[in-house]
């Protein structure tokens, strides 16, 4: 039975999970470009890069590559899970997203300047509506090994939340460090990504020279604005909008820096179930 009262949210609080991550200097600050400590040491520790191939995989806690997720357990049958509180302090100002990592791939060429086909494995049923239709699902290129000096524009041909064709894009940053998270725009009127089925799903306008990139599909769960260095902030069940976490949610942090300075993070995650 869903939680419908504040008392219910309080009664359902699970034990807090600590977050301590050591960041690195980021790529140049830019719109639609984040940094994830997914591969950074700390608590939780670093994840390992998937080797699943270009068609990808639905991400669940059972995968060996997701050791850096914020730990959580699914609620008992008949109960739902929601965000109870997320607190974050960082050594530089910026904005933190908490996302559900839903799908990931590997094997995309970083040097190719022709379209690369992707026939995506199905999304897990964890979009905004708890389905695999893609409502609210976004896409990003994530770097697990430092990229090269190329600065092409990149396009992604996808099927949107209503299964209509759409195209997203971003302009690449030079020499993206590990953890660089380049987010695709969506086409006009689109609010999510359901699948990738095109023979030219992913196209770079020129080489990025070197490195290892992954396409990641995700849903944003919460945002914290860290308005000053070393001054913490938090959202709770009320101020977060009480987002639901569907079974097997894989929690990941994405940081939008205000400066490229290496940034460390200290935080806490609390989930409520009922």
């Amino acid at each position: 039975m869903p939680i419908t009262t504040l008392d219910g949210a309080i009664a359902g609080m699970r034990p807090p999970m600590p977050i301590i991550k050591t960041g690195i200097a980021t790529a140049a600050v830019g719109a639609m470009r984040g940094y994830t400590p997914w591969y950074a040491p700390g608590n939780p520790g670093a994840s390992t890069a998937t080797a699943i191939g270009v068609n990808g995989e639905a991400v669940t806690p059972a995968l060996g590559s997701v050791g850096g997720r914020i730990p959580r357990v699914n609620p008992s049958a008949g109960l739902n899970a929601y965000l109870g509180r997320l607190a974050m302090q960082a050594s530089q100002a910026g904005t933190m997203w908490l996302i559900d990592r839903m799908w990931q791939n590997s094997g995309l060429s970083v040097t190719s300047a022709v379209g690369q086909p992707i026939t995506s494995a199905a999304l897990p049923a964890r979009d905004n509506n708890g389905t695999a239709n893609g409502a609210g699902v976004m896409a990003a290129i994530e770097w697990s090994a430092t990229g090269g000096a190329g600065t092409p524009t990149v396009t992604l041909n996808y099927n949107d939340q209503d299964n209509n064709a759409g195209t997203g894009t971003f302009t690449a940053v030079a020499s993206p460090p590990v953890g660089t998270f380049e987010i695709f725009t969506l086409g006009a009127g689109d609010t999510g990504i359901r699948s990738l089925t095109s023979a030219t799903s992913f196209t770079q306008s020129a080489t990025r020279t070197s490195g290892t990139q992954h396409l990641v599909l995700f849903r944003v769960l919460a945002q914290i604005d860290v308005t000053a260095a070393n001054i913490g902030n938090a959202v709770d069940a009320l101020t977060s909008g009480f987002p639901r976490l569907f079974d097997d949610t894989v929690l990941q942090l994405v940081w939008f820096p205000s400066v490229t300075t290496a940034t460390n993070f200290v935080g806490q995650y609390i989930e409520t179930q009922g």
Binding site: A113, G115, A149, T151, P152, T155, S205, A206
Partner: protein, 57 residues
């Protein structure tokens, strides 16, 4: 079809699929020193296969 050779200062149009994000005529403003890619729009790299000479009016 052979890809034309371009130089800095040439005026070009961008070919699909990137034309929807870079419509119109652009000037090649540089060459990426690390990759050799042609650059328009303050440093966006393009392989020559995605560019065409702009038709002079």
């Amino acid at each position: 079809m052979p890809v034309p050779a371009f130089n800095v200062g040439d005026r070009v149009t961008v070919l699909p699929p990137f034309d929807q994000f870079y419509p119109g005529v652009w000037e090649i403003t540089g060459i990426n020193p690390d990759t050799g890619a042609l650059q328009i729009a303050d440093g966006v790299d393009f392989d020559a296969s995605y560019l065409a000479p702009a038709e002079e009016e």
